[in-house]
Assembly symmetry: C2
Homo-oligomer: 206 residues x 2
């Protein structure tokens, strides 16, 4: 059904707000608004407040540009983490994804995007200067590229690689290969090809 | 991925608010919050305001209990509509759904739910007294039952039917049958059986 006429302007405004979110159509938006209408006034107020508060008060870590409640995020201020390794990611979701693996104990550097001429995003729009600054200062021994395995990701990797080449650090990249749980016959040939070339000693695989 | 640790309490609160909505998991909630973070502060404020405002300022029509910006909704105050017919629906979404068919020119009466002993909803929780009041006052010639075709809907229909039986009005119900576009072999037997019993003259079907 298409909504051509809402019985209330207030309702229409609220539905339109939700429908402006990615992946939420008018129908879902209406269902969400109806759900909120059934909640208590204080619950709905808290809903609105928490969202506006995030936008108003959120900070970004001065060191790694991760989202944070303080000037320096919890990861950067954690003394037990390895400060000689920096993992370069596109955005905050990637930090969370890698943290969730519980396999990484170094620091991060959030670029805030990847180079994408189609979207008008160039190197100067990203936190690349700050990364070079950090590497130049010394103390970092390894930089790990953990950008998306797309053309844009590879372009960004290569651009940063060229800028960091002059410093005496190890530059690595996430391994590419067949995802765990994937069936070979459905794996695309480029991934499969790379995973043959970069095959690892069998006793590395737990 | 499961989020066991957010880099920011503000972020966590905002994600939890969205994840409390029906059909939205933590992952989607996170994506929505990230989208809002990319919007301007005034856009996010408007988002929050529009939702809180709806809850605080919304009114329900004193006549039909439809959602409304005024004491009497646009439908009830529309002089061109037929005041002798009242269509009984469960909630506001049903009003919108029927309005969207553009086939109905009478008024509505929103029950605010259906009788459901399992959920602890009895007749007194619904706007049934107000309906009887309206019918008693006179002027209504037909009441149309447009509740869901479920056991609860049927129970509610029957309960209201018994209360309205004493008044001199026509009581009708939405027709049940094979949905337009449905294939016969996939139609359940109860619906199909009903649609044979209640078959209509062929020239009724446009």
């Amino acid at each position: 059904m298409t909504f051509f006429d809402y019985p209330s302007k207030l309702l229409e405004n609220a539905v339109n707000e939700f429908a402006s979110l990615p992946g939420i159509g008018k129908k879902t938006a209406f269902r969400l608004v109806m759900h909120l209408l059934r909640q208590s006034e204080s619950d709905v107020e808290r809903f609105g407040e928490n969202i506006v508060k995030l936008k108003k008060e959120v900070k970004y870590c001065k060191n790694c540009f991760n989202i944070s409640d303080n000037d320096i995020c919890d990861i950067c201020s954690d003394k037990s983490r390895d400060r000689t390794i920096v993992c370069i990611v596109e955005n905050i979701s990637d930090v969370i994804a890698i943290e969730n693996t519980r396999q990484y104990r170094g620091l991060y550097h959030v670029l805030g995007g990847i180079i994408s001429p189609m979207d008008g995003i160039g190197p100067s729009d990203l936190n690349i200067d700050q990364l070079e600054e950090k590497v130049k200062k010394g103390g970092i021994e390894e930089v790990i590229f953990a950008l998306s395995a797309t053309m844009e990701g590879d372009t960004t990797n290569y651009y940063i690689y060229k800028r960091l080449l002059q410093y005496n650090i190890r530059i690595t990249s996430l391994s590419r290969g067949v995802a765990i749980g994937d069936e070979l016959e459905y794996t695309d040939e480029i991934t499969l090809g790379r995973s043959i070339i970069n095959r690892t000693p069998f006793d590395n695989q737990k």
